[in-house]
Amino acid sequence: MLTFLIRRFLQIIPVMIGVTLAVFLLMHLIPGDPAQIMAGEKADEAQVEQMRENLGLNDPLHEQYLRYVGNAIQGDLGTSIRTNRPVVNEIFDSRIWITMELAFWGTVLAVVFGLIAGIISATRKYSFADVSLMVVALFGMSMPNFWLGIMLIYFFSVNLGWFPIVGWDSWKHMVLPVITIGSGGAAIIARMTRSSMLEVLDNDYIRTAHAKGVSERLVIYKHALRNALIPVVTVVGLQFGTLLGGAVITETVFAVNGIGRLVIDAIKARDFPMVQGAILVCAVAFVFVNFLVDIAYRLINKRIDLN
């Protein structure tokens, strides 16, 4: 296990180098002069030159990159053009935790509903329940979440008045955004669990368990589900990433002040250090979650090997 952990951790390094390089290059790929954009349209030549000097844009590219990574490791992701505050403070003061909370509950909803639906479908193959659940899953998977969010607001907030329309203060504020962000994942996990369970239920050892007189419940939960969960774990990890990305949409629809909305506001204001910082933090979080998923995967399935 220790060797696995070390080797898996070492695999993160080239990805992290690539991620930081890609995020660093974002600034340099912007058409036009980054210093001019940062200093603002009205800035005179001296101000632009000062900005160029401050950003170190006169140095060779590799030096700029190394400095960027060095600063990032020390928690310095630059200063937001819009608010003039350090990017790290903007992200970590509250924003990222709101998004993490949203993504976490979204994942919980996706896993719980996805697993239950998938198990019901697989154990009652081709029944009315199976067909209905899979039709719902197909629609859940195909539904644009921004539309779902707006429709939920229309029915449950505007018409019925059950939940507040916007904000993030109490559990009542969280219900609709969590459904919006988690429903697509629930649909994907349900489909995955169903097909994975069906494959496992077809195995000889399941037939043997039945033949030995093991109760149906025990066969499903102890023998089948455990093995069927292996591919599902990977999907859950990927879903967390999708949810982080999906937070951009959900936070915009429900006016939640998370990191997703921060990215959108920063892009619209051309606040590039903020865009860079927020995207870097999300990518690092995703790489880290995938690392944890791989460990979970290894714990469930000892046969896995990094090659």
Binding site: P14, V15, G18, V19, L21, A22, V23, L26, L29, I30, P31, L138, F139, M141, S142, M143, P144, F146, W147, L148, I150, M151, I153, Y154, V158, S195, L198, E199, F240, G241, T242, L243, L244, G245, G246, V248, I249, T252, V253, V263, I264, I267, K268, F272, V275, I279, C282, A283, A285, F286, V287
Partner: protein
């Protein structure tokens, strides 16, 4: 029957016409038997025809503003009602289908072409080329969900063309990984070794023997990818970072209707339903193609 499908596809590339014909027939038979796939294909092709015929069948000019008719609900005059500027929603949806389908199909095509080339090169040549290409894919996949597309649009600026580029880049690693895996398995087949031993050039082996044998997973993935490309494109437009108003893109229409959800929910309802319908169509069709093309897939 089952045995026949479990054979590797190698016969295709040997120009054995009867085998190719029987495989095609078997594929069509499987596909036409799958009711869900037929339903999906019907939806997809109907919307495509409507998109092509939009200028002929749309009852009104999609950008024509008539403030005296704003917020009208569905009626015989305006089947799906009008929006906040009195524009006909049905006409806007019909013209919008041209933008959404173009973005979905073009971005998938572009991403698939680059991904296939990279995947084949990585799988066929292996060694350091493989490592470099796969690490680049890992890096692209490390940006969760929509964020990579957002990052690209933030550099290029919001427009339909840039949306296509952003989604295409987003698609590259998915295709590259699938194609690399398929290339590796075909490359190991003995007959490829034999052809190489006979002195065939790499490009000939790739185009004549490997590519034809890995088309099935590419077609399936591309069909399913169009569905997510359409959603991503409308999400970018919804966020104001994709197609710009007054162009009638579905996501833009939805975003516009959001402000009037209490007084005129139909402005938001119909574009969402159309996106849902098209995406369901592509997903059903893609699932059907996979079942018909992949011998190992389960129903």
């Amino acid at each position: 029957m089952g045995q026949q499908h479990l054979q590797p596809n190698v016969n295709i590339s040997l120009n054995d016409k009867p085998v190719r014909k029987s495989r095609w027939l078997s594929f069509m038979k499987k596909l036409t038997k799958n009711k869900a796939a037929i339903a999906g294909a019907t939806v997809v092709f109907t919307i495509m025809i409507l998109a092509i015929l939009a200028p002929l069948i749309a009852p009104y000019d999609p950008t024509h503003i008539d403030m005296s008719k704003k917020f009208q609900g569905p009626s015989s005059e305006h089947w799906l009602g009008t929006d906040d500027k009195g524009r006909d929603i049905l006409s806007r949806l019909l013209f919008g289908s041209r933008i959404s389908l173009t973005v979905g199909i073009l971005s998938t095509l572009l991403g698939a072409i680059v991904g296939v080339v990279l995947g084949i090169v990585a799988g066929y040549y292996g060694k350091w080329i493989d490592s470099v290409i796969m690490r680049i894919c890992d890096v692209l996949l490390a940006f969760p969900g929509l964020l990579l597309a957002l990052a690209i649009v933030s550099i290029l600026g919001p427009s339909t063309t840039n949306t296509i580029i952003a989604i295409a880049i987003f698609a590259v690693p998915t295709f590259a990984r699938i194609v690399r895996g398929s290339t590796l398995s075909v490359k190991k087949l003995e007959y490829v070794d034999a052809i190489r031993a006979m002195g065939s050039r790499d490009t000939r082996i790739i185009f004549k023997h490997i590519l034809p044998n890995i088309t099935s997973p590419i077609i399936v993935q591309a069909t399913l990818y169009i569905a997510s490309a359409i959603i991503t494109a409308s999400a970018l437009s919804f966020l104001g970072l994709g197609t710009q108003p007054p162009d009638p893109e579905w996501g833009t229409m939805l975003s516009n209707g959001r402000s009037y959800i209490a007084q005129a929910p139909h402005i938001t309802l119909f574009p969402g339903l159309v996106i849902l319908l098209v995406v369901v169509g592509f997903n059903l069709f893609g699932d059907g193609l996979r079942d018909a093309l992949d011998p190992k897939s389960k129903k």
